[in-house]
Each structure stands twice: as structure tokens, then as C-alpha cells.
Symmetry: D2
Subunit: 416 residues, 4 copies
Amino acid sequence: MILEQVHILERFLAIRSKTEEICKPLSPEDHVVQPIVDVSPPKWHLGHTTWFFETFVLLPNLKGYKVFDPDYNFLFNSYYESIGSRVIRTNRGNITRPGVNEVLKYRSYVDQHMKHYLDQNPGREVIQLVELGMQHEQQHQELLIYDIKYILGKNPLFPAYGKQNVLPKKEASPLNWLNVEEGTYQIGHKGQGFSFDNEHGLHTVFLHKYAIADRLITNGEYLEFMENGGYDNFRPWLSEAWEWVNTNKINSPEHWHLVEGQWHQYCLNGGLLPLDLNAPVTHISFYEADAFAKWKGLRLPTEFEWEVACKRYGKIDDSSNFSDTGIYQPRSQNQGNNQFYGDVWEWTSSAYRPYPYYEAPEGAVGEYNGKFMINQMVLRGGSCATPRNHIRLTYRNFFSPHLRWMFSGLRLAKHI
Amino acid sequence: MILEQVHILERFLAIRSKTEEICKPLSPEDHVVQPIVDVSPPKWHLGHTTWFFETFVLLPNLKGYKVFDPDYNFLFNSYYESIGSRVIRTNRGNITRPGVNEVLKYRSYVDQHMKHYLDQNPGREVIQLVELGMQHEQQHQELLIYDIKYILGKNPLFPAYGKQNVLPKKEASPLNWLNVEEGTYQIGHKGQGFSFDNEHGLHTVFLHKYAIADRLITNGEYLEFMENGGYDNFRPWLSEAWEWVNTNKINSPEHWHLVEGQWHQYCLNGGLLPLDLNAPVTHISFYEADAFAKWKGLRLPTEFEWEVACKRYGKIDDSSNFSDTGIYQPRSQNQGNNQFYGDVWEWTSSAYRPYPYYEAPEGAVGEYNGKFMINQMVLRGGSCATPRNHIRLTYRNFFSPHLRWMFSGLRLAKHI
Amino acid sequence: MILEQVHILERFLAIRSKTEEICKPLSPEDHVVQPIVDVSPPKWHLGHTTWFFETFVLLPNLKGYKVFDPDYNFLFNSYYESIGSRVIRTNRGNITRPGVNEVLKYRSYVDQHMKHYLDQNPGREVIQLVELGMQHEQQHQELLIYDIKYILGKNPLFPAYGKQNVLPKKEASPLNWLNVEEGTYQIGHKGQGFSFDNEHGLHTVFLHKYAIADRLITNGEYLEFMENGGYDNFRPWLSEAWEWVNTNKINSPEHWHLVEGQWHQYCLNGGLLPLDLNAPVTHISFYEADAFAKWKGLRLPTEFEWEVACKRYGKIDDSSNFSDTGIYQPRSQNQGNNQFYGDVWEWTSSAYRPYPYYEAPEGAVGEYNGKFMINQMVLRGGSCATPRNHIRLTYRNFFSPHLRWMFSGLRLAKHI
Amino acid sequence: MILEQVHILERFLAIRSKTEEICKPLSPEDHVVQPIVDVSPPKWHLGHTTWFFETFVLLPNLKGYKVFDPDYNFLFNSYYESIGSRVIRTNRGNITRPGVNEVLKYRSYVDQHMKHYLDQNPGREVIQLVELGMQHEQQHQELLIYDIKYILGKNPLFPAYGKQNVLPKKEASPLNWLNVEEGTYQIGHKGQGFSFDNEHGLHTVFLHKYAIADRLITNGEYLEFMENGGYDNFRPWLSEAWEWVNTNKINSPEHWHLVEGQWHQYCLNGGLLPLDLNAPVTHISFYEADAFAKWKGLRLPTEFEWEVACKRYGKIDDSSNFSDTGIYQPRSQNQGNNQFYGDVWEWTSSAYRPYPYYEAPEGAVGEYNGKFMINQMVLRGGSCATPRNHIRLTYRNFFSPHLRWMFSGLRLAKHI
């Protein structure tokens, strides 16, 4: 067994076991529900990430491999048209069997075979698929955290997932501006490490000079917007955003609750807690991020501005708040690194569209990213639910502009 | 302790434990989902039936009683506007906490206090509420069976709830007619035993002479209707029924599946099994029952015709198929009793409206029946999911004409 | 030409011309829209009633008859599955061609041929179809009035259809009770005159003794209900009614508007006028009629009670307010006839179901009534939009319980 | 009166009269309906464009001006939150009064006052508002043509708006590629002429070298895609596009009809006509344009690529097919100008987002463009429904990706 295999096997097992660890505090009942279409049952995540390895790695490559259960392809396919029919998405929360224990057996079965298969010294191409499967599983780890938060946080009992974080409360520093001069810049991934197809198409963009804030917007600043009639005044809102606000009676970020005149926030660790005014605001839609920026007379950065600024001013360091910290909540300001990484995904003003030269890969994995490049906005930088080794400068996350069950937030920008 | 108390306590405990017995074969995951609005999560049934005793019996009557958890009123109220706000019905399936074990503790807590309370020799009025609570719980036992069947039967794996029934297959006897002569008849409940408010208003009706079939319509007879283009020809269908057929692409009763050219039926005991042509057809809507009758050139009986005929020709005997048999599926013909009781609820041609002199009781229990008397049809006779001691001649069940997840079927009638 | 033919031809021409007279005050634009699914464009009524004669009388019976335009069958079929496909109901308001003038030419063409045909001494059976077509057209005259009222009354300009009625204002007399003793009664149509199939099945019912109000409920009495929190208190409402109130934010009858603290009513003649407290309340749903009655501690009569009482206490006289008066609004109390006929259709507590012995006629006309006998309630007595010679004791009108764009109202009843 | 005033008055009157000319062939009935939410009634367009001048020019600037009717602000406001409440968009098609004639009187009244006002030598700022109003009216002239086409083209009678065009049929030339080299380019409007705010923010972009087709894609080429299973194969479709195809059962462009095995196209002039294989494909959504390009292994140009290429290779000449030709249908290839202008709006691959430095104007006109910059795609070049003097190089049109009732089409691009 050569070194790379050892390395990939170790990483494989670590990632697989991390997923199960995330689900540990859950009851069997917590694993099964789907309160909104965007949330998938934790049990489904456990099965789907496993199905990915079974379908794309083992079945076509491991000689004599027998699928754990032929029905699972139907149950755990997410959106791959190439792979056949599937449970429609809105029905995921109605499937009580197989139960959690059975799905864990499925995981164990596939892991055993993956171990066996990785011992066989598979070729480069398959290794790349395994790598993709691991990155895919890390993405689902992050979704799991959002989904668990939604499942527990919408329960009228507000049960906590973990113990309340004991963190030093830091006051947010005054907001300063980081400048970037006009010029052409390289955008997109290059180099050896893993990256998704949507980062490819290394290309040049021209940027006019601009300034970008040196930290995220805080709950306290967002509360000012609210107290200033933010949700009652159409002016800063996009037309369809204003309709969204009114139709859904939106009057605060997701997971905020006004309890006896005091704003609280549901947190995975600790449950319903008083709002920390110095922590970055999170669980806001693009609509809200954009309205806040306009209310301030400013704007969001483009994803290119973000990438160029982050390359110069951002860094991942020990104070970066990723899922590895287990805090699962953005925290009062992390000095020194300008908060580009971790804490919250930052809405950019860029629509999610292919880069020049982008090409979707052949086959089913070609359905991974490209087919979603419409009516979504790009977010950058990772969050407190992102594994530290999963994020990078060029990573493009994307969501529909009305969504906010994820850890999303904002940073301001302006032309200078 | 006087005899009646002993008696009611015994019955109380037996009914309470029966509910839990029904849920025994379920996994925790099975307890929590709500695949359609009509289905409630088994866990919710366990909690709601308990909440009924806590709210209507213990809290107003047992001195010093402390509720198990003040949030449970919000979680387990079904539709009682008088008792305060509640989880909206479509959200029942998103509530994972309290878990099944916690709800069983709630049951145990309330049962302890009920025992204690019933020992205190409560007055007549409260005893009546306890009686209502027990009847209510038996109704939920029946709903539990429908709901479990739906949860498991819509799972692509078709998991069985219990072992396949081993039953003698009987051939359906030729359909004969039972005659009733013209005249006035008494309708509604009289006597000492328990009855619901909707059976009250003992009153007289005039019936023209008619004949009613001596048995239920079978799967085989219904299949003939299907093979005769039953679902493709608008003629026998009510206008909104025809729209329902087309919008929902209905082409067979609920829980029927065509597997390799052979019709199967999902059964709680045994899972997916070949259709028994001699068993009564079930899981049909009023629309389908009515269309079948019209296709035959006949009609459904009114609820009055049914009651008068059943009084004369029906009986509950040892061959009656109630939930006590544990078969949970209508079975090939039960001779001798004309099948009026058990097996399937029989759709009548009567809309569910109040009897003359009907009055809803005072207070919250007044919301039990009266407020649902619109746009629903009456069914009579109980089913294989009804407890034997819960049914009676005058019992009026009711459902919207499009519903069919319950054990519903039909019997023909005609004027003579 | 024999007398009966003369007679029918005269009536035919009179009815046909009445329909056009109703549409006279309308602009071409008024003829074309469909603001809600229940309202049909006036142009469609003009065409559809003509299509009825063309399709059911001329085409099968008049030798050599050529249809005016082969596309009109598609355009003007309402709901006859037997006659082929058609514009879906919700699309009726999008069809601008043929225009009103073209449709009037169609009417004229068909009328010419009908004259010609009726001269040919057609047989009894066809005469019956012509009779049905005339009754059908009178029903559409009434619908036209509702629909015109809706089209103009929902326009923010509240344009009037005709000049304000100048009527003596009468004060409502105190409400008295008319008694009917217990016994069996004959229900349904007998005799020579025209009647619809749904009145057939002459049969006997048994009624317990009861009393019925000697007049309709007034706007003033209904306003009391409103001011007593009628729309804010769930108690008198059926469960689905209460949901309807809340979903649709209902807080008054249809066509009521609160203008500077004073309730007004949109009237065809005169437009927006101050509410006449002594006139019968109208444009209320069954839900509202039923809630009002329950709030009073009383109830609505069954359709049988209504028919028996009307036979004894009701009469059509010169003070009866039918469409022939051209008032098009129920008016302050008409003494002497107990208001059973005209003014408003009276909601009964009876669901619309077939009478014993009811049989739908053969062929397309069999689709006229029977297929709608589900989830609707019966109304009796005709309204200020009903032609006087169209109503009779046994006439059964029917609407879904939530509808109220027609002239509907209520009369109270009670057991004694 | 100075020359500029003369000039603007002449243009004002010409534009105003052109709008009425477009509506001339319509019946009053045609003016009033709204078959889908995107279509507005022609009568509404007539009123709304007039309201714009009344509200933004006359009312604040012409001393003593009295509005024609105070209710019209409510009736004819489109989406200006700043100006008060309005008829909700989906209700526009239910408003039959004021009728067409009344609205024409309103137009005449406002035109009189505009003439009077423009004689008074108004200041620069107001002239700019008048200019905006004229451009606005030209946009509505274009929408009118789409909407009329939809209203007549969805009528089962397929009535023609005008006489069939007699045009020389040209064969489409082979598709060639126009190259553009890598570099930085200026984007956005500069100079004196009118432009919309969304073209402002003159800025620099960097483009990699690329090639763009020298003509539009034809019906014939699109038919190939269809015959190649274009609508049956998920591969070239964006994920939400594929859902759109299946939910709406899309299998051809809008206004295409298969008549006895031969594809036809509804055309304003001539009605239903056999498909011209050499004419540019039109009435396709972004989803379809994008899928076609992917099926070809190519892509759509960005709006920047389009603008740079058009600047170099495009021109408006006498063969350009704008609304002034009265053809109202894209036509077989117009040689020499590479078809960049006229015929059809070309879908680009760019999401509609603000340019750098974009700022919405103050006040109500600030609602003109900016608030729609989300979930829409940019189209360029004008169409056969665009007035020739309304289009320019930098003009940005925008629609949601699923819309296709407008004259939309596509041109291919590729990296080289």
C-alpha cells in the first residue's frame, strides 16, 4: 500500500466517522423528519453520502461488489437523473424504514468495502472520485448542521443540541475599510489540491478600485436596521424581496425570537439564548443582506472583489471559527484575520454563473454543479459549520436568494 | 372503592395499554412522520389521547395536579379552539421532541394520577368525561392503525407491521337482498350505554320500502368495475369525483399495486400480498363507492336505511372481524351475520348533518362532533380496525368524500 | 300550427329577448371578464344558452341544419362530458373573440332556425327539450345578474348597472313563528308543469313538529351579530367555516363596504348605497347563515320543513320581489306572504342529495343535475334575480357552502 | 417656443399616437383581458402610459392641473410603491370600467395638457422626465405587441391581428464565426442620447478571446434540436429548467402548434401559418436557449461579449426588422448586418445585476429598473416589436428565465 492510499484511507475513515459523530446527539426521531423542502432528514444524509461511494466508486470498480440493498438506489439518490428514478425530494421526510440503525449498518458495509477497495491500489481516476465523495460528504456534514438546527430550532420546546459555548465576549471593533486598486486579476482555482468544477475556468477579470469592510456585520448593527423600520419600508428592498417579506411576514433573521421584549437566538449549543450583539449576524437571506447594504448606502462585494480582497487580507488561523471548533455559531469578532474565513458564508452580489471556459465533467458527476447555475447567488468564505480543511480561497457556495436556514451573513463593500 | 369505579379503572387501564400495544411493532422513526395531512404521527396519538385526560379530567378535578409539562398543551391539542393555540395540523410531523420514550413517560404519569383520581370516587359527571376519554382513545386506536398502514404502505420497501394472517379462504356467496317494508322508524341512540352526541336526537324517519344487500362488495366485483373501464368513463362519477380521479390519476383503491400484471394489496400483516378477490373491497373513497353503485344501476343505502336494516339483519358475533382479531384486513365473507359489523366502514348516501333536536354539549367537549357536520358523508358499522366494544347500531362515523386511507367499503341498496 | 306551439314559440322568443335585455346596459368590455371562477363572462352566457338549443334541439332534429360555427361547441359547452372537450372553466374570461356582436348574430341565427323548427310541429320529446332549454336560459339569466353584480361591484369605481330604486322604506315587523305539526308529508314535484329532475322522486318524509320564522333575517339583525363579535368568535362556526373566515379575512357579507364608519352595500341599481337595515340580509354563505342561526341559539330549517311550511304559509303575490320587478335587490319587508318567495334564496340545513327514486335522465341532459349532488347545500324560494315564472314550491337550488356571490339569505327555524 | 421643445412635442405626439395605432385593430373586448399574469390588458397599457405623464410630469409641474379622475392613480399605477396603493397585478384583467373610449378620452385630456405644458418652456429636469415617459411608452408599445399576440394567439380561433406579410423567402446562410480578441473593453452608455439608469456605470471589463455567430439560430435548427429529443433528454437542461419542462409539459416554443403533422406558428399578421424554417426561432425561454446551446456543445455570449461584438460587427440599417416595419415577426435572414439588431431579443448568459457605480435615481423613478435586478437574465439587441429609435448598443432588456411570450431568440458563442 503506497503512501497516498494510506493517506486517503485515513482521511476517508475520519470523514466518514465525523458524519456519524455529528448525528450522535440526535434521537432516532430527530433523524427522520423534513420540516421544509430544503431540509433533508439526517438519516437521509447518512444514507445518501454512503450511496455516493457505493454507486460511483464500488459498483463500477470493485469486482463482484454486491449492493447492500437494491432499493437504496431509489431511496438515496439525490438529484442524479443519470442514475435513475428516486424518492421525490419533498417525500424524503416520510420514509421511516430503513431506520437509523439499518442505515448505520449500510455505512459500515460500504466502509468495509471501501477499505478493501482502497487497499487494491486503485487508479488515479477512481481516487479522484473518492476525493469527490469525501468533499461531497463534508458538504453534507455542513448541511446536516443546518438541518439539525432547523429541526430542533423550530420545535416549540427549543431543545439544545449541545451544551452552551463558554466564550469570551469580545466587543466588535469599529468597521474599517480595506482598499484594492484597479487592475486585472486572476480568478479561479489553480494548483494541485482538490477543487470543484465550478471553480475551474481560471480566468482574468478587471476590477475598478474598491474598498471592502475588514469585518462582518454584527447582530447589533442588524438590529439597528430593524429598529430603523428595516422590514417596514420598501425602499431598500428588491421588488421580489419586498413581496417575500410581506408574504412571509418576515421581521427578523431566521432563528430569532422576541421573548418578553428581548431578542433571542436559537443556538445549537445552549438552545434559546439572548442575542449577542457583537457576534456576526447570520441566517439572513440575500434579500436581507442586500437590503441592509442599500439601507447603509453601500453594497455587497462581487465574488471577484471578495476573492481578490481575501487573497490579500484574509487568512485561516487558529481563531478561525469552523465546524472543528464545535461552536456551531458565529462568534464575537475574531481579530487579526479580518473574518474572511469561517463564522458565516458571505453573500456576494454575484449571480452563480459558469466561469469562462467552464465545462461540466462527463457522466453523472457532471450533474454536480453546472445544472444549478441559475437564479442563485454566490457566497464565499465558509462558516462555523464548514470543516476547516474543506474551504479555500476560490470556493464558490451558492443558494437561492430567499434561503436562510444556513449560516449566511454579510460584509460591506464600496467603490472608491 | 365501589364496583363501578373498579370497573372503569380496569377498562381505563386496558384501553390505555392497548394503545401502547398497537405501537409496539413500530420503530421510534415510525412514530414521528406525517406523510399526508390526514395521517398523524403515532407519537402524536400517544400524546394527544393522554392530553385529553390531563386537560379535561385531571387538571380541573384532581386537586393539586401539576401538568407533566406545560408545553404539552400546545403540542397535543388537536382542534379545541377553547383550549388555546396549538401546533398547526400540517406541522405535527416535524416535531421530533419529546421522543417516544418521553411520551410514554407522560402516559405513565397521567395514568398514575388517573388511578389515584379514580380511587377518589369522582362524581357522575367526571366519570362521563372519563368514559368520553376512553371512547376517544379507542377512536385514536383505529386512526393509529390507518396511519401506521399509510406510513408503512407508502414506503417503497413495503415493510410489514405483523406476520401474514393465516386464514381459511372462503368464496364470496352470491349477493342476495334483504327487504325492509315502508313505514316510520326510530333513529338514534337510546338506553344506558355510552354514545356520542351525534347519535342523540332520537327521532322518527319515514322510509319507503327498500332492499339492501346481504353482504359487502368484494375485491373481485370491484376489479370487474375497473376492468370495465370504471376509472376511464365519466358517466357514473359525480362531477367533482371525476375531477378528483383525473387530477390525482386515480386508477385503483388506495394500497393497491399492480406488480407484473397482477394486482396486489398492501396489508399490515404480511406487506404486499396478491389481492384476495373474495375479501371486501376497502380503501375506497365515497366517490368510488358511489360510482361503483351507479355503474351497477343501483345505489348506496341512506344511513337510516342502514340502521333499520342492521337492527333487523345484523349482529355482532364471534366471526365479526374487529381490531380484537388482530387481522387488520377485511376478510373473505363472514357468514351468518350479513357483515353489517366489522371488516369495513360502509359508506352511506347520507351527508353528515345533525339529527333533529341535536345539541352540542357545553364547553370544550362541545367541539367534539358538531363542528364537523358539513361536507362529510356518514359511514356505518365499524371495521377490522375498530375495537369490538366500541361499535354499536347507531354509531355515526364520517369522512370527507375523497378520503380513503381508512378501512372503508360499500354495500348496495335499491328501492323495491 | 297548434296552440301549444304558438305558446312555446312566444315564450321562447320572450325568454331569449329577456337575456339580451339584461345585457343591454353593459359595455362590450363588461361582457368578457371572469374575475373569479364562479363568475362567467356575460358574453359566455349569451353564447352558452344559444349553444344549448343548437346542440340539443337543432342539430339532432332540424334536417339540414348547419352549425353557425363549428368552433362554438368548444367555446360554449359548459360541463357536458358527453358533448366533447371544451374551454376549461377558468379560461372563459380570456376569450375575446367572437365579440359580443358576433355572439348576438349567433343568437339571431339560432333563433331564426328555432322559429322555423317550432313551426314544423315537433314531437312531445323535443318540446320537452325546448322547455328544458328555456328553463336553462332562465337559470342563466339569474346567474348573469349575479355575475354582472360581481363584475361591477368589485370594480373600485363601483359603477351602477341601473338607476337607484325608489322604494317606500318599510320597517321590519317583529319576527313571529309559524307552527307545523308532527306527521308525514309529501315532498317533491307532482303535476303537469315543468320541473327539474332533482325535484322528482315524489316521496314521503316524517317531520317532528317545528316552528319557522314568518320572515327573513334583516341586515339590521345581521349587523347585531357582527357587532357582537360574530366574525371574531369561533363558537358558532363550523370548523371549516372558521378556517374560511380566517383564511379569507371575512368580516361582513359580500358587497358590503365600510365607508367612513358607515356600512354600505353595492347595489346593481344605484351602486354603493347606505345599508338598509330593514331589508333582508343577502350575499352570505351557508357558513354565515349557519353561524348566525347558532349564535341565536336556533337553526336553519331543513329543505323539507321549508317546503311544508311554504306550502301552507307562503305565496307568490304582487308584492313578491322577483327579477321581473327590476329591483335586483331584496327589499324591506313584503307583508302578507311571509317572504317565502323572491328576495333571497334561503339556505336550508339540507345537503343536496338525490331524493328516493331519483333517476338521472338518459343522455347528455342527464348531466344537468345529478352529478352535482355532493358537498353542496340546498336553497329554496327564489330571489330578486329569479324570473317569477321560473320558481315553484319544490324548486331545489344548490350551492357550495362557501359561496355568496348570489342573492342568498336566511330564515330561522326551531323545534317546538 | 425653442427648437428642442418643438422637437420634443412632435416626438411626444408621434409616440402617443403610435400607441393608439397599435390598438386600432382590436375590438373593445380584446382590450380588457389578462390571460396570464405577465400579460396586461391593452386598455391598461393605454391608461398606464398616460398616468405616467400625469403623475410624474403634469401633477407636480403644471400649475392648476386637475387630474382627469382621482381613481385612476389606483387603477393605472404599475409598481410604484412611492405613489400609493394600486390594483394588484393579477386583477388588472377584471377591470371593465373605464372602458376603452373613456381611456382614450383620458389620453386626449393628458395630451392636451402636455401640449400646453410643453409650450411653457419647461426646465431641463422636467424635459428629462418627459423623455423618460416617452421611452417608457415605447417599452409599453412593445409589451402591447407581445400581449396582443398572446391574447389572440391563445384563442382557439387563432384570429389574425393583421394581414399576412408578403416577404421574399431567403434561405439562411451557413453560420460563420466573428472573432474578438482578448483585452479590456468599455461597457455601458456614454454620450448625449437618452439611456436608462441600468446602462450607466460606464466601466471596464476584461474579455478572453471568443467567437460569436454571425446570425441568429433559425426555426429549422431549433426543430433539429426538437427532433433530436431535445425536450425529452435531461442532459442539456439546467435543473430548474428540466422541472419547468416537465411540470408545464413544454415540447416546443410558445405559439407553435402541430397541425396534422406539420409545425405551424401563430403570427400576428396572418394567424396560424406553416413554420418558416429560415426565420430566427423566437418565443423561447432562457432555459430553452441555454439548453439548445449546450446541446450544440456551445454557449450563449455574456452581455459584455455581445456588446463588444455588436459594436464591431453590428449595425442598424434599412433591412433591420423593427416594429416600424409592421411585420411583427422575425424574418428570414437579413444579410449584411449580422442580425444584431431587431428580429428577436437575444438571450445572453449574463444575470441582470447592477453595473459597477450604478446608482438608482432619487424618488419614484428610482423604482424604474434597480429593484428588478435579481433572478432575471439580460437580453440584447431589440426585436421586431421594438421601435427603431428606441434601441441602442448598450440597451439592457431583462426577463425571468422561464418567460417566452416576448420575441426572444438566441445567438451562439464560444471560446477560441
